[in-house]
Symmetry: C2
Subunit: 296 residues, 2 copies
Amino acid sequence: MLKLEKEHSIYLFSPNNSPVIKVKPKEKIIIETMDALSDEITFEDQPFEAINWDRVNPATGPIFIEDGEIGDILEVKIEKINITRDYGVMLTGKDMGVLGNEFEKNYIKIVPIKNNKAYLFDYEIPIEPMIGVIGTAPKDKEIPCGTPGEHGGNMDCKIIKEGSTIYLPINVKGALFALGDLHAIMGDGEVCVTGVEIPAEVEVTFNIIKNKNWKLPMVKTNDKIITIASKKTLDEAAFSATKNMVEYLEAEYYFTKEKAMFLLSATGDLRICQVVDPLKTVRMELPLEILSRKGE
Amino acid sequence: MLKLEKEHSIYLFSPNNSPVIKVKPKEKIIIETMDALSDEITFEDQPFEAINWDRVNPATGPIFIEDGEIGDILEVKIEKINITRDYGVMLTGKDMGVLGNEFEKNYIKIVPIKNNKAYLFDYEIPIEPMIGVIGTAPKDKEIPCGTPGEHGGNMDCKIIKEGSTIYLPINVKGALFALGDLHAIMGDGEVCVTGVEIPAEVEVTFNIIKNKNWKLPMVKTNDKIITIASKKTLDEAAFSATKNMVEYLEAEYYFTKEKAMFLLSATGDLRICQVVDPLKTVRMELPLEILSRKGE
């Protein structure tokens, strides 16, 4: 099986990045990742000033996907996630996270992980690994890996995990896909500014979808279809995530706008992914069961 | 058992309302409610102009709870919810809901309900009744029942349902509690501007909690403790819901602020209640299991 080592990483999604590996649709590849701090933090008293802030949110790649043409959609199936270290790292403090202005100093927390449980203080938390950064190159600009957007990027969306399928735009030939910033566990919001940051190996397969005009990113899980939007405010992101789902229902199910809005208001969940990145991220989750289950 | 008929309703939470019934702590009472349109809509072609907009979001009450003194907390256990009509009503359209500016006209949808399922278009949706409006009188102002706030009110929070316990402030002697605006089913966000609006009978019991200084409203379910905040923007509401939970963890568990933030970032879910009322509502959900489960 193909494997891409974590040394091949980027800190910007960019059309100018050179691909480090070429992968065919349906070919399996294991992508090794560093944690969001480039694996630099190893103990709680580590001086904050020594952290290299130019090296946060690395994504491993970029990967060139064959047959991926501009205007196509890249389908990424997350086949498997294995975390590769026995501890995760969390940060919070001054100017970081929701209560950043209430802290005078910064805090590092080392979170031991054993038998699929994270030990945060004396609480035992079953882990649920997810991908924070996942995206493709934008068409004509460079976007730091710490920022989310229509290309994907740092969406910090906890439904992007083993078994999920992600849909991303192909803005340049081959897509130039990369991922990183795994979390052993994270709550909706990521309110302290990190999840439980961890390196991992992520097995994915790609597929190319032609002739669809969905507003991206989108995600499919076993039981839900999900639109994701990142904007300056949660209010704008909520609007966009809703509108993107309405347009998907119009395009794929031939709904009128009012039918889509009635269905989403009764059965769709508008949820927060994160509130702590340069843009905020909101998702709209619609149960697939609703769309498949017809009444009497 | 005590019963309060739906004819006893208010359209403002106010310290000046006269109580219509007195209830003792632990005494069961059934509260009958009208739907959010005061039961006025009965068919889809009904002229929108004929709806009396002064009579939206009625809450049945106010109920005077004995022993409830200013500064206490009112605990309200939702023992049982029975819907009392075989159809619900939804509205959307011009200037209503997330896509209000994309509609030229208004739409009414009648949603038949049978055997605990709602039939929206040809989709069959298991119902999950919840309370949209639930609150107590503010201290020194009047708040329309359509607006949420620290007194509760129109939070449109779908976890407020059978089995939940709600914590509200007692700002005036006897609390002057009221509830209404039941939904047979509603998604997080309530994006079209309504849930599936339905009249109901709600059985509740009250309890008075003394000497606690929690930031309210709060909710407890079988498996979660939840803070709720309503503000002009989702961003402000997200901040407040998070801060309120941090303060609860500081007060009740003697957490430091950073410990609370680490725990919430790893295991707490910051979620949207609704985005379509005069203020937006966000909740922070923390699994009770986390707080009770200690590691090795």
